[in-house]
Symmetry: C3
Subunit: 154 residues, 3 copies
């Protein structure tokens, strides 16, 4: 078992299978030593555990858990392109889109679900730049969507 996979298991998680390419795009692309993932929804075995707007249909804490799941799906997509989880060297940047009630402004706390997970898994190599914003509507009524930019081994 790889080092990162062991850490993942120690966090009570396992690398999910990569979601099959939906229609006309792919889960991640590589350019040089950079992998950019597609926007990832918090699907578990192909289904969204929860839908709705944060601050209206679900609590920020719940959405933070979903941000972690979406982030995990993004790592799976990046690992598939990079040749394995242990080829992921460093997380450069993430964007967290939070489907938000108009008066909800706690996007950073939701995004921390992804950020703290990356720190727990990668240590210092998980320290990333981040943009967190609210939006009124996401695909499939998902509460969050996460994309990653990851530096990978040669």
């Amino acid at each position: 078992m790889s080092t990162l996979e062991a850490k993942l298991n120690a966090l009570g998680l396992a690398l999910p299978p990569v979601a099959k390419p939906v229609a006309a795009y792919i889960p991640a692309t590589r350019f040089g030593n950079i992998v950019m993932t597609s926007g990832q929804l918090p699907t578990v075995e192909g289904h969204l555990p929860t839908t709705g707007r944060v601050g209206q249909d679900l609590l920020p804490e719940e959405a933070a858990g979903l941000a972690r799941i979406a982030c995990l799906n993004g790592l799976a997509a990046a690992a598939a392109v990079a040749g394995g989880l242990d080829k992921l060297r460093r997380v450069v940047r993430i964007v967290v889109y939070v489907q938000s009630a108009d008066d909800f402004h706690g996007q950073p706390a939701v995004a921390n679900g992804a950020s703290e997970f990356l720190l727990a898994l990668f240590g210092d190599a998980g320290r990333h730049a981040r943009t967190a914003i609210g939006v009124n509507a996401l695909p499939l009524n998902a509460p969050v969507e996460v994309e990653l930019v990851v530096e990978v081994e040669d």
Copy 2:
């Protein structure tokens, strides 16, 4: 006529002129072999054929056609920076912003208007990572906005 331009014509399309720099930014910038475009609106000869929110003022199918137009405008911007359409080697990533009714969650179908066009034009080199999100408001009341990251020849 260049190879990609011939394909574009076979799709019933032609490369539009690049929209003139609006105010204080430019249509695309190059860094190494990567070109990043500005967010592109689906303008045709300087005008938006349709405005409004998808799922309220226009149908997803109509918006998918606009996503294709915005994508074409993005290719024109990238080609101008790269030195011609045939200098575009591969589409790395796109982001599709869909001006959405609050209860519209079909952003992927709208974004497919851009993605399927890129596949038709570039073949395997058009397979890209993608983020599609809904937003409540876009410039000029445009239904979609598209940005591209493209790998270009030396």
Copy 3:
């Protein structure tokens, strides 16, 4: 005093201290000669001078001024990673998120607050690609959020 800092002062501005890392992410990361900043809010000494939605709670002109402040905060974050303001060689790309009333579509005018500032400071090296979109909700009820991609010296 560095050249860019002198220009900044001539514009009546000074480089602010970098906002302390909030929670689990950092203000900017570097990959090769590229620095990507986190999404920057228009905080002044840790506080937002104004909150609300543009086109409803504040005017576009006011929001343009906030976009300039957020952009300045982003330059401070990039400079800290690059080793000083004069290590910033060129602005490649910016994204401006505008917390917008549903019927407000003047995001470009708001984003010009950042773009024109970058041109004034960097000259031709400040000519960047840009995406400007509206969103319904931003962290802390901030009217704008800005992120930067900057090319830096070795």
